[in-house]
Amino acid sequence: MFIPQVSIRQKLLIIAANFLFSVSLAGTGLLGMVRRDLLYGIGNEWSTLMWISGLVTLFLIPLEVCVIKSSRRE
């Protein structure tokens, strides 16, 4: 299977973007869950989904580290 080769800088950028996206998503979700009305559980719906998705997508980073080929290794 063809995997495009990128420079080491581009690879780092992809990983950093993943990290930022995941942390922002998880952070927004966590904040939404904290701010939700504790008695009635209303407001900030789908925050739990954002929180879990953010944490889960963090684990794409090891995959990116191994699968994306950078020019330094070639």
């Binding site: 719906e45 789908w46 944490l55």
Partner: protein
């Protein structure tokens, strides 16, 4: 860029055998697991159309509506605990002798976690709203929400871990298994098995293993909190609950791993790769953890029996001398027998280690662990919190059927995996002699 084709050595050939050939036993076990899983589907159907009360036969005002389902959930989560744990420990501590069984252990995590989720779906009562409501309204203060978080993260991270550890095998096996060659090449994602790639994967997996260990502990701790944070429920409100659950999970998982490895070793005639010494080491660890569990159990019941509040007094009485004593005392006797079997097999009969004694001991301990899960859930739920008469609970055939269905799911998942992918890490070129020796 293509991987260098190499001579198909005897060991690789042996490890790929289950993929290349299919025996009658495979078809029989596959059919059996399908029948078992259909029991779960039937229970799901009944509950979906007739409600939770239909499958649990809940009719009294006080009852154990969580019932057997909750005990099964804790049981499966416990088993899933150890899979990645063994693999991560083997990598982090460089325990080479554990390497051949790491994939079998990882699969325990990967299959038992969904099995637990299958049971959670039934336990919820409204399965069709289960995922949607948690994701939409999940509250930060709810242990159920923590559980959804840690299970999702653990399952995803474990899948990535398993995939990265298998990537080399996909690339190697692509040349030797024509019927799955295209799938393997697709999954290998351009892996070419160079020295640099291997090192990069090892490094990444090492760090991933390091991150996975605390997540693994959190998964079962959260289940301890699900029970331990119930302030009003006698027998549950206990700061000791989370560590007790983690210890139970370690025992549960190791006992299951010993059974699964022994079965695979026998069925595929892989005595060379899954050595008796490896199973012996697993048994040794299980033995000492069981002793610790016995100590924890004694400490728990001594505390609960010594001038307990009214609620705790009721629960302890039903367990020690009441309606649950026919489960409790035989379970404790079996736990001690299981421990002694492991202990004597490791020490007194040191020069004549017998595999079946360790496997029988592990099986006994696993049954006891299921019984203790049952005793954690049911007696506390039957104690009325309002002035009602005490509840009654007997698991229905539907609940047992759902349990069998979840076991069928795990067995079926193993079969499908072994039919498509290598069950043991394929050796490196220079490693063949060592692995086969």
């Amino acid at each position: 860029m293509a991987i260098i084709r190499r001579h198909l050595d005897k060991v690789t050939q042996d490890l790929l055998r289950p993929i290349l050939t299919t025996g009658k036993a495979f078809n029989f076990i596959a059919a059996l697991s399908l029948v078992m899983f259909s029991l779960y589907v039937y229970a799901f159907y009944l509950q979906f159309f007739h409600g939770h009360g239909f499958t649990t036969r809940q009719s009294t005002p006080v009852g154990a509506v969580w019932g057997l389902y909750a005990a099964i959930i804790v049981f499966f989560i416990g088993i899933s605990h150890v899979g990645i744990g063994v693999s991560a420990a083997a990598r982090l501590l460089n325990l080479e002798y554990l390497r051949p069984l790491t994939r079998i252990a990882e699969l325990l995590t990967l299959f038992c976690l969904p099995a637990a989720v299958l049971m959670i779906t039934l336990d919820i009562g409204r399965p069709e709203k289960f995922v949607l409501n948690v994701m939409r309204y999940g509250r930060i203060t709810a242990p159920f929400c923590w559980s959804a978080t840690v299970i999702s993260v653990y399952l995803f991270a474990s899948t990535i871990y398993l995939y990265l550890s298998m990537r080399r095998d996909f690339a190697v096996a692509a040349d030797w298994v024509p019927k799955w060659g295209r799938l393997y090449r697709l999954l290998a994602l351009g892996y070419t098995d160079t020295k640099e790639e291997r090192e990069l994967h090892e490094r990444t997996l090492w760090w991933l293993a390091l991150v996975l260990i605390p997540i693994m502990v959190s998964v079962h701790s959260v289940y301890g909190f699900v029970f331990g944070l119930h302030g009003g429920r006698p027998g549950w409100f206990n700061p000791f609950m989370a560590p007790f659950f983690v210890l139970g999970a370690i025992i549960n998982g190791f006992a299951t791993l010993i059974i699964v490895v022994a079965i695979i070793r026998k069925v595929f005639q892989w005595e060379r790769y899954l050595s008796i010494q490896t199973i012996r080491n697993l048994g040794r660890f299980l033995c000492w953890m069981t002793l610790l569990y016995i100590y924890f159990t004694i400490a728990e019941y001594v505390t609960y029996s010594y001038t307990p509040p009214a609620g705790e007094a009721y629960v302890v009485q039903t367990v020690l001398v009441g309606e649950f004593s026919p489960i409790f005392w035989p379970a404790m006797a079996a736990l001690i027998i299981g421990f002694l079997m492991l202990l004597f097999n490791q020490t007194v009969f040191n020069h004549q280690f017998t595999l079946w004694i360790t496997v029988a001991g592990a099986t006994l301990i696993n049954v006891v662990l299921f019984a203790t899960r049952y005793l954690i859930v049911i007696p506390s739920l039957l104690r009325p919190l309002l002035p009602f008469p005490s509840g009654v609970y007997t698991p229905t055939l539907y609940e047992w059927g759902a349990f069998l269905g979840a076991i069928g799911f795990v067995i079926g998942a193993y079969l499908v995996f072994f039919k498509i992918f290598p069950a043991i890490e394929l050796p490196l070129i220079g490693e063949v002699e060592v692995k086969g020796s």
